[in-house]
Subunit: 297 residues, 2 copies
DNA sequence: GGCTTGCATATTACTTATAAAAAACAACTT
DNA sequence: AAGTTGTTTTTTATAAGTAATATGCAAGCC
């Protein structure tokens, strides 16, 4: 049976939009709402009829009208709004990164399936998807081998990352002066400066800026393989840093300064300067990752 | 139900070994045979009892002894010895590359499953595995989009390939003089020269040499992400060239000469020369691929 | 004619089931 | 004691089945 997490998420999202006054149910067509939420009309209709069933709207005659106010308890709990796939990812990452899973461990589909409460198929699909992260390896007609989230892994990851980043940075700096990317870069610079001022309170926001900057640079001359690789980096960082909070403020503050230097170098168009600034940032990011791996293991 | 293709392949392999006089069933332990064929002992025992059941061996008392001679008809037909997974790959590649499938086509799991005669699960697993080749893309809660085996694809592929190859070539050339890799390189050079002499008859053998050379170069300083990427290249070339035979002899002859120049450059240790030879080979390989895409589409 | 909703159909995201194959265990043989 | 075979248990590779979701088509409305 397929879970109804799509519906539940859509329902929650609709409640949000209504509460925020962003959407007037009575005046919005099914199709407009569909586009807004990003699901099919079938799901939107299910949401509308649920709203009705709960008395949050009243479908007297044609158009629904506001009924009962929306309560916190009307929202579906978060875990019910995410797909099994998402659950598996989260639980696997936790098992791997936090569970002190040793390099060389054999991964057992059946056991993970029981442990995570899903069918083996879901585990297998996840593992296939995950295998491109270079951390696991399939053994023919047998299980999977966990190769370990090791220093070696981090170094290999960064070797590629540096190559890609340097390539993209140079291409970015060669964009014509009237390219809209320069405007975006300027905006990002401001956002960095702003964050630096409020670093004490908002240091968590750095990872979003980090992502935006690197994605922007890669967008100047897109290459699907580089994009894919960047997804690897994003996921690794997402989970790894989520559980390694040590010195986060200082690390992020330093990284912001590196970003600012990098942004200035890009604007300058001086290839040598770009390489220097880029490498400095990459090196410190690598050091941070390697250090946190050592610390964790 | 799980197919018994592993057993059938193991059975055929055993017949081969016995026919070649490589293995004496009577004198070989189950475990030794297992190691030789690369399957579990369970499967080996199944093979042995099938041999017995057919009278190819006679298990009078303890050790089996030779019985009837082995006939061609004793072998299982090839298609029964490959896994469903392999079938799906082959059929999908054919559908995609030869079926004139247009960029933008939506891939329907159910339809492919029916077309290929497998369960949807198998299709889905294949597509997930295949998605890292950058040719298809998942649409959330919906099907997959075929992005097209286009010139743009080939160019993006080669942009990365050139970066990786240059990196590995330089690292290779810096190996110490007594590294065993130099011996391997020398052997490969001889093999190339040999093939050049017999190019008229054996030009198909080039792709194997091509693979060996590039893998050797990458092995000097391994990086799992580069290895993975090379698998993408290998698969693309494997299928694409399988169906594009135009000018194959001339293309391969030219490529062999490029390889020889590349090998010499590597041995010389002259970074500039290496870059030149490497780029020349990469450029001509790219041209070949792009041309055959245009020709096919 | 374009936009709406109602309805029917197709496809996906799962779960459960099963034979094949691998792995683990035990008993036996040199 | 190490290697062999017999037996049992576990795990994988696949198929079949099902509710949720997406998609397509038709009819109605401004």
């Amino acid at each position: 049976m397929k879970p109804d997490s799509v519906f539940k998420k859509a329902f929650n999202r609709t409640l949000q939009l209504v509460e925020a006054g962003d959407v007037d149910i009575g005046a919005t067509s099914e199709n407009a709402l569909r586009a807004r939420i990003g699901v099919s009309r079938t799901t939107v209709r299910k949401v509308l009829s649920e709203l009705d069933a709960r008395g949050i709207t009243q479908a007297t005659g044609k158009r629904p009208r506001a009924g009962k106010p929306i309560l916190k308890s009307d929202y579906f709990p978060d875990p019910e709004t995410t797909s099994k796939r998402q659950h598996v990812e989260e639980q696997f990452m936790e098992w791997m990164l936090r569970g002190d899973t040793q390099p060389g461990t054999l991964i057992n589909e059946l056991q993970l399936a029981r442990q995570f409460g899903v069918a083996t198929n879901g585990i297998r699909e996840f593992l296939i998807r995950f295998s491109r992260f270079g951390l696991i390896e399939k053994k023919q007609n047998s299980g999977w081998l966990f190769k370990g989230f090791t220093e070696e892994y981090a170094l290999e990851l960064f070797e590629i990352r540096v190559m890609f980043e340097l390539r993209s940075a140079v291409l970015f700096s060669e964009l014509p002066d009237d390219s809209p990317f320069w405007t975006e870069l300027a905006e990002l610079k401001t956002a960095h400066q702003q964050l630096l001022l409020e670093i004490g309170r908002r240091f968590h926001d750095f990872s979003r800026l980090d992502n935006r900057l690197h994605r922007l640079i890669n967008r100047a001359a897109p290459n699907r393989f580089i994009d894919d690789f960047y997804e690897v980096i994003t996921l690794i960082f997402h989970y790894h840093y989520q559980w390694n909070k040590k010195d986060e403020l200082q690390r992020n503050e330093a990284a912001i300064r590196e970003h600012l230097a990098y942004i200035d170098a890009l604007s300058s168009g001086d290839a040598h300067e770009i390489e220097r600034a880029c490498l400095r940032h990459m090196t410190s990011a690598r050091t941070t990752l390697v250090r946190s791996i050592d610390g964790a293991g």
